[in-house]
Assembly symmetry: C2
Homo-oligomer: 228 residues x 2
C-alpha cells in the first residue's frame, strides 16, 4: 500500500532551512497496523502529511497502491485522498459553527467513488462507534477536547477508507476512552483496513503490530511489537 524511498521534507523559512524529515525509506503492506513514535518535533506529522497526500516531499519517492505520487496533478492528489485515505488530524481540523453530525457527513458529500452512502445515517453510526451518539447536534465549540478529537476520528472513518492515517488520535482522551478507540481500530484492522497511527504513548503502541520510531527526522528503528 505504502512504499517510500528516501522521502524527505525541508521547510523553507526565508533563508533558514528546517529539515523536518530526512531519507525515510519503508514499506507498509495491506492490512498492517503500524505505530509511528518519536519525540515532539521529530517529524511524525510531517511524514503523515506526505503519506496522506496533503503535502509534497522536497526529495525522495512515495508510491501509494503502486501509483507514483510524484506524477500526480493537484486534483488527482485530492481525488486519491478522498477515495482511499481517512485522515485524523492532530489538531482535529473540525469546521466551527458546524454540528458533529455535519462535520462527519462532509467527506460523503465530496465522495466521487460511486459508492452509495446515506450521509446522515452513516455519520450517526460513525459517531456512535466513537461514543458520541448523544452529542450529534453539538457544534465544535460545544464539545470537550476529547469529544472533538473523536468527531475527527469518526469523520476519517465514515467513507470506509482502505487506509487510515491517524495523527495522535488519543492525545486528549482518558485511558478508558483511549482503550475503547484502540479496540475499535483493532477491529477495523482485523477487517483488512491498513492503519498508521502516530502516538507518544507506549501503552497505545502496544495495540498495534509494528513500531516505526523517528528521531530528528530520520527513521532510527522499525520493528514488530514484541508482546504478541
Amino acid at each position: 500500500v505504502i512504499d517510500t524511498r528516501g522521502l524527505s521534507k525541508t521547510y523553507q523559512m526565508g533563508r533558514v532551512e528546517v529539515p523536518a524529515l530526512r531519507d525515510a525509506t519503508f514499506t507498509v503492506e495491506r492490512g498492517e497496523f503500524v505505530a509511528i513514535m518519536g519525540a515532539s518535533g521529530s517529524g511524525k506529522s510531517t511524514l503523515m502529511n506526505l503519506l496522506g497526500c496533503l503535502d509534497t516531499p522536497t526529495a525522495g519517492e512515495y508510491h501509494l497502491d503502486g501509483i507514483n505520487t510524484a506524477g500526480l496533478s493537484r486534483n488527482a492528489y485530492a481525488d486519491i485522498r478522498n477515495r482511499k485515505i481517512g485522515f485524523v488530524f492532530q489538531g482535529f481540523n473540525l469546521l466551527a459553527r458546524t454540528s458533529a453530525l455535519e462535520n462527519v457527513e462532509l467527506p460523503l458529500l465530496y465522495d466521487r467513488s460511486g459508492r452509495e452512502f446515506d450521509p446522515p445515517k452513516a455519520a450517526q453510526s460513525a459517531l456512535e462507534l466513537v461514543g458520541l451518539g448523544d452529542r450529534l447536534t453539538h457544534e465544535s465549540n460545544q464539545l470537550s477536547g476529547g469529544e472533538q478529537q473523536r468527531v475527527a476520528i469518526a469523520r476519517a472513518l465514515v467513507n470506509e477508507p482502505a487506509l487510515v492515517l491517524a495523527d495522535e488520535p488519543t492525545g486528549n482522551l482518558d485511558s478508558r476512552t483511549s482503550v475503547e478507540i484502540m479496540f475499535m481500530l483493532q477491529g477495523l484492522n482485523a477487517q483488512g483496513i491498513t492503519i498508521l497511527l502516530v502516538t507518544h504513548e507506549q501503552d497505545i503502541s502496544l495495540f498495534t503490530k509494528r513500531i516505526v520510531r523517528l528521531h530528528d527526522g530520520r527513521i532510527i528503528k522499525d520493528e514488530p511489537v514484541h508482546h504478541r
Copy 2:
C-alpha cells in the same frame, strides 16, 4: 487561594440543558500542586474555565484569594486573570501568523500590575525553559503540535503568575518532553506557585501532590497522591 462551594455550570443549547459541572466544593491552599482527572466530557475544562475567570458559573460560589468573584465586573475579571493567573489552554489558543516569541510576549504587553518586565528577554527565557530556544521565530503553523503546546505553557508562565491553571499541558508531548515539563512545574511549585493541572495520564498525575477526580460533572474523589 481557591475556594469553591456548590460551583455549577449548565450549558444551554436551545431547550436542551447540558449540566457539565455540578456542585463542585473544594479548597486549594497557596503552594498546592493538584491534578484534575476524569473521563473525556466529565467537566474538567469547564471547571478550569470557571477557576480561571474565563467563564461564569450558573450556580454556586467561587472565592479567589478571598475575593468573591460573583461581585466582579467584566473588567475586574480580566484584570484578576492577567495579574494572578497563568492559563494553559487545552487547544493552545495561539495567535496565527505570529511568532512563538510574540505569542509569549503578549501577556506582558497587557500587564498592568506595575511590575517591570523586558518582554523579548522574558519571553525568550520562558521559551528556553520549555525547550524551544531554537524555534523563537517560527509562527504557530510552522511548529509541531507539541511545540505549539509548549509555547502555550511558556505564555502562561511569562508574567510570573501566583496561580497556574494548565489544561492537559502534556497531551501532545512524548514521554521525555512531558517529564521535562513536569520537573519544570515541580520546580515552580517548590518556589510557592500554586498549580492545578488537568491530565488524563496516570504517570503525569504522580508528579503532583493531590488528585481531584471528576465523573459526569461531579467531584467523586479528592485525595493526596500516595507514593510520596
